[in-house]
């Protein structure tokens, strides 16, 4: 199953490292990263594959949300299908 991770918040050192570390630990494979900084705001969209992972989507959502809140980041994890169905026929 592919997932989309969206991260928004104040920029700081180590955001990508933190998220990718968690994903690696949970055996979630990153497929694509798109990141930029606009007016000091960090904006990232990541597409990843969690087929080989043992963690459930719900638990991953909770884990990343919690870690994000600790450093004032909004981290959202969604099933990729909602984007596919809206933008691809």
């Amino acid at each position: 199953m592919k997932i989309v991770i969206t991260i928004v918040g104040q920029d700081r050192v180590g955001i990508i490292a933190m998220v990718s570390n968690i994903l690696a630990e949970k055996n979630v494979n990153i497929l694509n990263i798109n990141q930029n900084i606009v007016d000091g705001f960090f904006n990232m969209v990541m597409i990843a594959d969690m087929t080989a992972s043992k963690i459930s989507l719900k638990d991953l959502q909770q884990l990343l949300r919690g870690k994000g809140e600790e450093i004032n980041l909004d981290i959202k994890v969604q099933h990729e299908d909602i984007f596919q169905i809206m933008h691809r026929i």
Partner: protein, 452 residues
Amino acid sequence: MLTIQDIQETNRMIAENKLDVRTITMGISLRDCAHPNIKQFCQNVYDKITRSAEYLVQTGEDIEAEYGIPIINKRISITPVAIAAESCRTDSYVPVAEALDAAAKEVGVNFIGGFSALVEKGYTNGDKILINSIPQALATTERVCSSVNLGSTKAGINMDCVREMGEIIKRTAELTRDRDALGCAKLVVFANVPEDNPFMAGAFHGVGEPEKVINVGVSGPGVVKRALEDMKGADFGAVAETIKKTAFKITRVGQLVAQEASRRLGVPFGIIDLSLAPTPAVGDSVAHILEEMGLESCGAPGTTAALALLNDAVKKGGLMASSHVGGLSGAFIPVSEDAGMIAAVECGSLTLEKLEAMTCVCSVGLDMIAVPGDTTAATISAIIADEAAIGMINNKTTAVRIIPVPGKKVGDTVEFGGLLGYSPILKVNKFSSEAFIARGGRIPAPVRSLTN
């Protein structure tokens, strides 16, 4: 591969423009619950509903979390009670409404629809008992919704029932006067009612429907409004194209949610209702879409044309996005549930008569209209007759959900709370329709050719 723009667009629709799935409604047949003893019947109904919908709310919440799309309501529609309860030896179906209310609370749905009767051509004994039970049923329950279909293009209009429903609405208002006649907000009178509509208060599980079914109602007026903001000054062809594309995207989300809900619950998928359903929240208004097209205020000349374009474009865009479309499908114009409509009534640009004209081209009818408490039963009946006539002649669904609020007059405001919103009291034509409504009988079905 998805682009970052696609992902950001979807998330902006959800976060900023209030895109949501308005309801997942599970239809449940109660035809196998029939029993001569009403107590046993109520038990059968309660058991069947709580067993069938045990995981409905949880499933909705799971889908909401996984895809990040809000699913506002989880609801149930049932076989019209006038049919399911007809073999009970009783003179009141109020205990059935109470059993439905208890079942709805047990499974955690906020509304259950189907305290209904279909009487466009005449009454059965069950229909009579049901209609007489409506005021008490709506006063003593919290989550039960009621509807009556009293006209159709094929059968004409049952004017005896039109007369009776004026009185029933007045009595319902009286019995719930301590809650500003809230009972009337849970009661809809229809012509050409669809039997697979997932939206309340008019949802029920029609007789041609399967044992159980999942119907989904989408929404998203804010998304359409936002898309039109980029089309300032563009001609109507471009406006219609933009609405179609937006409706397509909105409906695809509904289709995904419906498929998932159907798969996880093991219940067949019925239809997507392609509707623009407003809420009183800022940025979730159908009136504001019409105003975005260039009207100073909803209700101004041009409003009917704007609504016609909107309604048609929503259907055209949505149809390709879903495998099965049904229900009401179109733009809703409930006054108290739409911030733009409320403002338009308050500033004097939107009147009852203009709303009636708008119902000729929108998906439903006069919806959530609060009128003075001294509006007579005959006047309410006559308003219903006018709406039913529009539906009958134009081969479309029309409905009336009107609330004569006891003790309130024009200039006052009434607060229903939550999704039902609040509304200024609308002015009603003061001339009498008593003698017209007193006639009764049936208005014959119309001719279907020579349609000028």
